[in-house]
Subunit: 505 residues, 2 copies
Amino acid sequence: MSDSQTIAATSVIAGADSEQPDVAAATAAAVEAFAAYRATSPAERGAFLEAVADEIEADKDAIIVEAVRESGLPEGRITGEVGRTTGQLRMFAGVVRSGDHLGVRIDPALPDRAPLPRADIRQRMVPLGPVAVFGASNFPLAFSTAGGDTASALAAGCPVVVKGHPAHPVTGTLVARAITRAVQASGLPAGVFSFVLGGIETGQELVVDPRITAVGFTGSRGGGLALVRAAAGREVPIPVYAEMSSINPVVVLPGALDGDVDALATAYVGSLTLGAGQFCTNPGLLFLPSGEQGDAFLRAAGRAVTDAAGQPMLTPGIAEAYASGTASLRGTEGIRVVGEGSAAGDHAPAPVVYEAPAELLALDDNTVTDEVFGASGVVVRYDDVADLLPRLEQLEGQLTATVHADPASSADAAAAAALLPVLELRAGRILFNGWPTGVEVGHAMVHGGPYPATSDSRTTSVGSLAIERFQRPVAYQDVPAALQPEAVRDDNPWGLRRRIDGDLE
Amino acid sequence: MSDSQTIAATSVIAGADSEQPDVAAATAAAVEAFAAYRATSPAERGAFLEAVADEIEADKDAIIVEAVRESGLPEGRITGEVGRTTGQLRMFAGVVRSGDHLGVRIDPALPDRAPLPRADIRQRMVPLGPVAVFGASNFPLAFSTAGGDTASALAAGCPVVVKGHPAHPVTGTLVARAITRAVQASGLPAGVFSFVLGGIETGQELVVDPRITAVGFTGSRGGGLALVRAAAGREVPIPVYAEMSSINPVVVLPGALDGDVDALATAYVGSLTLGAGQFCTNPGLLFLPSGEQGDAFLRAAGRAVTDAAGQPMLTPGIAEAYASGTASLRGTEGIRVVGEGSAAGDHAPAPVVYEAPAELLALDDNTVTDEVFGASGVVVRYDDVADLLPRLEQLEGQLTATVHADPASSADAAAAAALLPVLELRAGRILFNGWPTGVEVGHAMVHGGPYPATSDSRTTSVGSLAIERFQRPVAYQDVPAALQPEAVRDDNPWGLRRRIDGDLE
């Protein structure tokens, strides 16, 4: 997503100011809480994550009212996001209870091995330490105060300091209060979770604080890179997981146009305009075959987007950035408007689909490949499937890449087989015959991808693999049984699945 | 280890110059080879790793002669290193064949789920791309051309460009030729492996090459940080795994001195002087109880080190850095020499044990805590176990931390239990009643640790977990069965253990 504007903190809930610590106090409390929190058993930590979910549900009505008011998003969407947020916490509680995230490996001693005996070596993952999480503007719940980064860091055993997004301070404060109640009810130290509000300076202060050991961020490329740069100036480097920008290319293969072209085009525009287009996975670039069937798709997409009305964007700044991005596209020679919907007020601009010549995909031209956050899509035509590969190879890293193909067409199958290895190098998730908006919270999901989709492609910010971002391995060599951590003990008190001499139990 | 000197490339094997590509040619070849190499099956890639081991063994005699000549290390040590190198390659071949490193996760479709159906989502790890590996001075085989970084990157499916260490160019060239024969015999593209020689500029050129996707380095803090800084200037950031410096603290608890103090002190000096002290895991700092038993240990250590003779260091530059580091210790007020062995020539300086006052461990003083690469050890006394915790908490990140304790002493057990959580936050490996030199290549080993022991604590550079450093996850959503990668297909042609809906098959 793109939100490089500074958003002034607006009304803050009564009394919230006094309950918010400053960054230094929050990180100090996190350090103080770390020892006790990381020592929690899987059952205790799992129960705590579930308590967080319960407390958010207890305040659900008030949270929904405030989130709708602050974000402009419809109630149905916000209600769904609450369910996603609590569901994610409960799913991570299940992973924590299983202990799979501890990745235990045991290489038993071989006292008789020649020429040298082997020591007893046992490995488990330990949490990194206090984690800074930045709330996102476009998901006031699922990617904010109790969102994916917070849930995964807490699951890993890391205390969390959230910097709430200034576009929804009241929502953030309400969720923070719910988490704080769960911390108290679980008998954990207060510093396990802190919530601070503030602008860019507050965020920078948090990232350079020597007590912070990792950062999770979802936002604009500008904002993410600023955090990466700030972190690079630290004496001790830390992982920064910034999920930044993506135009999520979609390739329509010729066979896909043999079916119901109207339905396909309508689904495209539906994905493009969903939530005012304010998704990291919004399909910003679509490759469409030249020729009559492609023309028919484009006419249908034009009709669908013309029928679409603008929806309120998250902040005036985001709406202004959308206006500026679409104006730049419109003012570029060779780009034409395929269809444009209707604005619905100052901050609810019209969705629009453009057609752009393929030449604008040249490496040194960002006109078409820079993300315009919102319901703005660019269609590029191609004559031959063979022309696609070099164009896709030139694209920057992406969160997703989508292929539409006729499963029964051998030509499409051959083309898709050639595309797949290229798309794998460009994106974290590859979809067929679907649309990239809507990210399932599962075990197999990857919401990540090569730079600049993220600052660290080795992981995901959605799904249970996200927990592993906040851990590091420690080996215990010949540590006496009585002193071994439970996870690696012979009697396996937590009933973990462990790798013994390389083989899973 | 510490080797901040520039070492001029000495004699290079006849004909080697002409066979070495420049950096740009090597990285271009690596890119060209990537598609074919990453497409290899587990069986093919495993066989290739074994072929590398076989080819190194075929040239073993010549390699040993040259490595002994270039490194000054004894033949027994070098012979052991050859075995370690080939054993590591074969072990990684086993992991690759099992496919465990692919981390496959499958969340099957739930078409009837309400309110929304779930798509079919499948995840596997893919290799990052071409990897730059820097040969280490102190392990001409096991951490150099075909060493741990190369073996793990190749196992992950990444082509490798090695910059050989200028202290052993002939050894590196011989090993490179062996790898190249394995590449050819396996029918793989030549760019799967390249070997370049050169100085600091060549290394920098490699790290900033836009085609390089990750870096593995073992060496000095200065050298590692220079590479980290160079990489930070790239447009597209990449992981840099630099294993740098460590003083590997050892804590002797009072009970450990109830046994054979002479044997304990002799074992300490043995670990300190092994290989002229040129190990990343050399025990540079030892905490010893005050009082008579501690005095007895120190006298015994003094006798043992006085009896020890110097051994040739790897390069004149390393010997000079050792001389400068020990001179600095010796010239510091309050530090006294406990015992000093005998030099055995210009570049085989005397091993030495110092005693330093605890005050020198203050945060703003690096006299005692900066690594002196070589057989130089510092002993710090403590009055009470309670004094140890703040001293250990002040230490920088370490590769290892060791505790010597009497397993039968409840006082030692209580002290060790208090130390363990602190040591876990400081080190990648914790040992009891042993010495940190000697790093087992296993599944459970961690050779890593918090900064500045490494630039990235989330991983290890020794052991099979090292393979995961060079991968990233990709999710496949609703990809038709015929187009799915083998690893995630329903018929599981590679017989992998996979996580289905979060549970291992």
